[in-house]
């Protein structure tokens, strides 16, 4: 029995998976802020999930954690998890002592890519494009995380795609993240609505020309991200995930429209079959928690 934890800026998800990968329990708790509170809320979520699964902590063979920030996956140390108020935390060590099982820690997007690979029953190679506040992709090849030489594989959010674009927080100009991310929508579509992306898409559907323009820029950026991953890493399947994937068909369909348009103007792009290689993450998937639970169970690239 394995526990997977997804520690996000606002909430912590915990799942319990059986040996065969079946989800036995799922719990959501608010995330704590600061190292001690992050550990405490993760601990509680894990224990509650085990209880919900009708099991005991002693039956847990491993705990995996997906968390934003700079991760040393060999030691389970987390640094610069700014949204969680964590500057430096030996997460694996501390949590392992509390839960009595080995703890594996991974960047949340990378964990989510592993989760998507398993939940969607993918084979070969795949990438999860994570459209959250920022934009990054996790790459999985044959069920194993592909980190690249220095851990920046799939960091396509910071590939500049428009010299006339806006300044990016990374110090560059016109990065893909400046048009295809939650922060991009927040900048391009200032609103007091609780869900800015949903508000943007609603207004665009209502016929607001500025909303339609901004939506098209964003959707175009999403399509560009799929193309970029296909032309560089060339994974078989691209999964659109992250918070903005909750838009579901409302995002998927205009992206497919763009692929169709591209295919008409370029035989080269048509040959890439982008439409059939792109999947949406199911809205209710605890993808990072499930992927975290897989950590330590699959061999890694050297």
């Amino acid at each position: 029995m394995r526990i997977g934890l997804d520690i996000g800026g606002t909430k912590t998800d915990a799942v319990v998976l059986a040996r065969d990968g079946r989800e036995l329990a799922r719990v959501r708790r608010p995330s704590g802020f600061g190292a001690d509170e992050v550990i405490a809320s993760a601990d509680i979520a894990a224990r509650e999930a085990v209880t919900q699964a009708g099991a005991r902590l002693s039956e847990v063979t491993s705990v995996g954690v997906g968390i934003p920030g700079v991760i040393d996956e060999a030691t389970g140390r987390v640094q610069h998890a700014v949204n969680l108020g964590v500057a430096d935390l030996h997460l694996a060590e501390v949590l392992s002592a509390r839960l009595g099982a080995p703890v594996f820690v991974e960047n949340d997007v990378k964990a989510a890519s592993l989760g998507a690979w398993h939940l969607l029953h993918l084979s070969g190679s795949a990438a999860l494009l994570n459209f959250g506040t920022g934009l990054a992709a996790g790459v999985v090849v044959d069920g194993r995380l592909w980190r690249g030489a220095r851990g920046t594989a799939g960091e396509i959010g910071h590939v500049p795609v428009d010299p006339a674009g806006v300044a990016c927080s990374c110090g560059q100009v016109g990065c893909l993240e400046t048009i295809a991310s939650g922060s991009a929508i927040a900048r391009m579509w200032p609103t007091s609505a609780a869900l800015p992306a949903l508000d943007l898409f609603d207004r665009a559907d209502d016929g607001d020309p500025e909303a339609a323009r901004v939506r098209d820029v964003f959707v175009g950026g999403v399509a560009q991200a799929v193309r970029l991953l296909t032309l560089s890493v060339d994974i078989e399947t691209v999964v659109i995930g992250g918070g903005l994937s909750a838009l579901g068909r409302r995002l998927h369909e205009p992206v497919l429209d763009i692929f169709a348009q591209w295919a008409r103007s370029s035989a080269f792009l048509a040959s890439l079959d982008l439409a059939e290689r792109t999947r949406m993450l199911p809205a209710d998937a605890a993808v990072a928690a499930v992927g975290a639970a897989m950590l330590g169970t699959v061999p890694e690239f050297a």
Copy 2:
């Protein structure tokens, strides 16, 4: 003893490698045009190289061929090798019957990436950025070619990087290849000089402002290509190769200047260590022929 052939649009290089990888002989012949002549010139080059090595054809255990075009590497079939006048050729079958050894066929840029990995004694992961008429990269991981799911891994020449750019032959706009390739230089710097890139760099050094501007665009594109590969595939080493790498230090130094400039304006880019991860291909390396000779000797990714 292995033969490696690099069949290019104008010349065919043949090398003979000893079992330990040492180069025993190297021969260059003009390439034939059309399927029959391409086979004939490859056959002659291979036999001359074996003779130069003081060996006999019966000692050759395998023949590898790097050739442009669409390759089915499983069967050794070549299609659409336009510059060679080859529409459809079962190259492995025909050449194997002539030379009496198994023949492996690979796209020339992919073969060259394998050759660079061996010639530069690289380890881990690496990409050869091939700046020829077009722009593409070959990716090698742990000595094995990384083709991707459908063979487009490293096809970064057709990643659009400027919506205000010029139309690309692929049907898109502002592709990286439209600024960072031989065809880009030919378009941006029309000249009757035999070596347009050399003429461009000479004129720029002489103080011609338009030449300096075009050179800067081109060099900027080369730097962008390195950044793009690093942020997507994240190979440890990027090797600048292809015909334009003959510019040597005159290309390498301004690319390093750009990396330094980027590092000053972006801590994120500084953290990528682009300068120390970028190498120039030695001018005299028969890199595609050597890589071709390695074909069939290293295991492949599934």
